[in-house]
């Protein structure tokens, strides 16, 4: 008897609590592609979520689901979040693009924010960061620092975001080191530490002494450290724990200001669908501290480039740049458009000099 009573009281209390929540709290959901402890991509998105909580305190309630596969499963998770009363849902991987659009159609009153995609709707905003700006700086350092003239690049999926990064890094490495060669390995995963480590080891065995990665875990840096005399960069997060080892700098994604602003917009009823694509200038892309392994003059050049990109005086894709097949992409002095044929948003080609094909 006592036990049932206890249960009943608990149920009533819980019921009251949930209705109370439903009344005055803005509910924000996050869908993650990896675990929050990946030390990279998802870790930074989760930092953004925590920043939203810190900013609004009791006025907001955030939930997240991690390790959500890109595909039908994602749709299920988003639907569940929407049914549970989420007001705003951030879907944080490129592969969630179509699921987000599908679910958004079913829940016109819920606001969606999709990261790194290009499909917008009345209740779907898209946002991304200009990671390629950071890649330009990486490429510069890589080109200056490689002794074997072989740079290894671990790609995840052949999507515009990743291809932009490869092109940007290559252009700037080539600029300072005409002999540089890129070896590219596609891992076809965002997160699989063992596979990422294998890919890094293979690249190192084939002569690479700089490893650039576009996957989410710190495993490639661990492999670089084990090999010795190989440098790498933090990806998505600072990965500072490798700063006394192979990590010489990093690209840091800072989503917190955007997440706070968008949550605020929902609270104020001012949210509207838009497309945001910010870079170093707006603070969405950060460059992690460049360590002493990098010679002082290279560091100074890298910082100068960062400043020029930030104030808009330099665009990482400035002509003349040819496509891989030798045709002209950008004429002398021309800079790449965001949205147009051959624009950055849908980039699906390598620039001249890169060897290998992009998987279809």
């Amino acid at each position: 008897m006592k036990f049932t009573k206890l249960l009943a009281t608990a149920a009533v209390a819980l019921g009251m609590a949930t209705t109370a929540f439903a009344d005055d709290k803005t509910k924000v959901g996050f869908v993650y592609v990896g675990p929050v402890g990946d030390g990279g991509w998802t870790y930074e998105h989760n930092k953004g979520r925590l920043a939203v909580e810190a900013e609004f305190g009791d006025k907001v309630e955030t939930t997240f689901v991690e390790n959500v596969p890109e595909g039908a499963d994602a749709e299920r998770v988003m639907t569940q979040m929407a049914l549970q009363g989420a007001d705003l849902i951030f879907t944080t991987s490129f592969g969630y693009m179509d699921p987000t659009i599908n679910v958004a159609k079913k829940f016109p009153n819920v606001k969606f924010e999709h990261a790194t995609g290009y499909k917008q709707a009345d209740n779907v905003s898209v946002y991304s960061a200009r990671f390629y700006e950071g890649r330009a700086i990486q490429g510069h350092i890589a080109g200056k620092m490689t002794k074997s003239n072989i740079v290894g690049y671990i790609g995840s999926f052949p999507i515009p975001e990743v291809i932009r990064g490869i092109n940007s890094a290559y252009i700037h490495a080539k600029k300072v080191n005409p002999d540089v060669e890129f070896k590219i390995v596609w891992a076809f995963t965002w997160f699989d530490p063992a596979k990422e480590a294998d890919a890094a080891k293979v690249l190192i065995e084939q002569g690479a002494d700089v490893i650039l990665q576009h996957t989410d875990s710190t495993a490639p840096l661990a492999a670089a450290e084990a090999a010795g005399d190989v440098i790498g960069f933090g990806q998505a997060s600072d990965m500072a724990e490798f700063a006394d080892g192979p990590r010489v700098s990093s690209i840091i994604d800072d989503w917190a200001p955007y997440y706070i602003a968008r949550t605020k917009a929902v609270m104020d009823g001012a949210w509207e669908s838009k497309s945001t694509w910010d870079g170093i200038g707006a603070g969405m892309v950060g460059i992690g501290e460049i360590t002493d392994k990098v010679p002082a003059d290279v560091k100074a050049e890298a910082l100068a480039m960062k400043a020029a990109i930030a104030d808009g005086s330099y665009h990482p894709f400035t002509g003349p740049i040819n496509k891989q097949d030798g045709s002209v992409w950008l004429k002398e002095g021309e800079t790449a458009q965001d949205y147009s044929d051959d624009g950055l948003a849908g980039m699906n080609f390598f620039v001249e000099g890169i060897v290998g094909d992009i998987p279809e």
Partner: protein, 306 residues
């Protein structure tokens, strides 16, 4: 294309490393299934072993103790499965899946303070003269002890199953638990021991990833290796040497395809990426065209009264 960039000795050596986690986890699961129990929790036990081994190595500074604790951790988790399926007679498929989910969650919780730490490196077994032999030295005699342990385990499991009384009893329990029970064998006890052996092996396999192959702790870092091990057992028709072959094929082609990609071979990357799965399955399926079949009592619940 520049195939000369690929060093065959290094390739074969990394084959052994890439194969070891699924090999050890697979051979453990083989014993479990030969005893008539289907434990789908390999992934959960591997990741638990990965974090237990990692924590023990960080705390004690000794990789050997790390591997010991990894085996203990995996075995302890498998005991939960044994309790559910052998004592409470719960459904094995559901319990195994639950074990995987539980293991992933538990390891994430345990590992919170261990992200970004670096374990002391496990020494390689440098056998003085042998490891200096060109080519063969690099391929065969320049590994950590766990690589050899994995191969030894396969040999031991094969010998025990084929030649010893213990192996015979284990197989009898797996083929027909009622008959084994009628003969006076303790079906439940034998199965619990087999499950714990499987758990210990899975734990070792997981720790190999977190201590040697990657070496670091990241949540969810086994990323499906447990499922590969599980599939390997089935496609290997529950035969130890075929598990070894399957693991080497899978590990070898995984490393080979990355090498081919890096060397710029003009084979579409999609085909290279799926090749480890396809080739391993095809080879093992062709081999299982002989009269191999699953242990007859696999997955069935045993109770002395029935």
């Amino acid at each position: 294309m520049d195939l000369s960039a690929i060093n065959p000795a290094l390739l074969l050596a990394s084959l052994l490393v890439a194969a070891t986690p699924i090999l050890i986890a697979g051979i453990g699961e083989l014993v479990v299934e030969r005893a008539g129990v289907l434990n789908l929790g390999v992934e959960g036990m591997m990741i638990t072993g990965a974090i237990c081994g990692f924590m023990a190595t960080i705390i004690t500074g000794s990789p050997a103790l790390g591997f010991l604790f990894a085996a203990l951790g995996g075995a302890a988790l498998s005991l939960l499965f044994a309790l559910l399926t052998q004592v409470a007679l719960a459904n094995q498929v559901a319990s195994g899946l639950a074990l995987t989910l539980f293991g992933l969650g538990l390891s994430a919780l345990l590992g919170q303070g261990y992200v970004g730490l670096k374990p002391p490196s496990t020494p390689k077994l440098d056998i003085p003269l042998l490891s200096d032999i060109p080519f063969f030295g690099t391929v065969l005699f320049n590994h950590d002890i766990i690589v050899y342990l994995g191969i030894a385990l396969v040999a031991a499991v094969w010998a025990v199953l084929k030649f010893t009384r213990v192996g015979l009893v284990l197989r009898a329990v797996g083929e027909n638990h009622d008959a084994a029970h009628a003969l006076g064998y303790k079906v439940v006890r034998i199965r619990v021991l087999a499950i714990m052996f499987g758990g210990a092996c899975a734990g070792l396999g997981g720790a190999y990833i977190s201590l040697i192959r990657v070496p670091q702790w990241t949540e969810g870092m086994t990323a499906g290796a447990g499922w590969i091990a599980l599939a390997l057992v089935v496609f290997a028709s529950w035969k130890p040497w075929r598990v070894l072959l399957g693991a080497w094929l899978f590990g070898g082609i995984t490393v080979l395809q990355l090498n081919l990609q890096a060397a710029g071979v003009s084979i579409p990357v999609e085909i290279l990426s799926m090749s480890p799965y396809i080739i391993t399955i095809v080879v093992l399926v062709i081999m299982s065209a002989d009269k191999s079949r699953a242990p007859a009592s696999l997955g069935r619940i045993f109770h002395a009264s029935s």
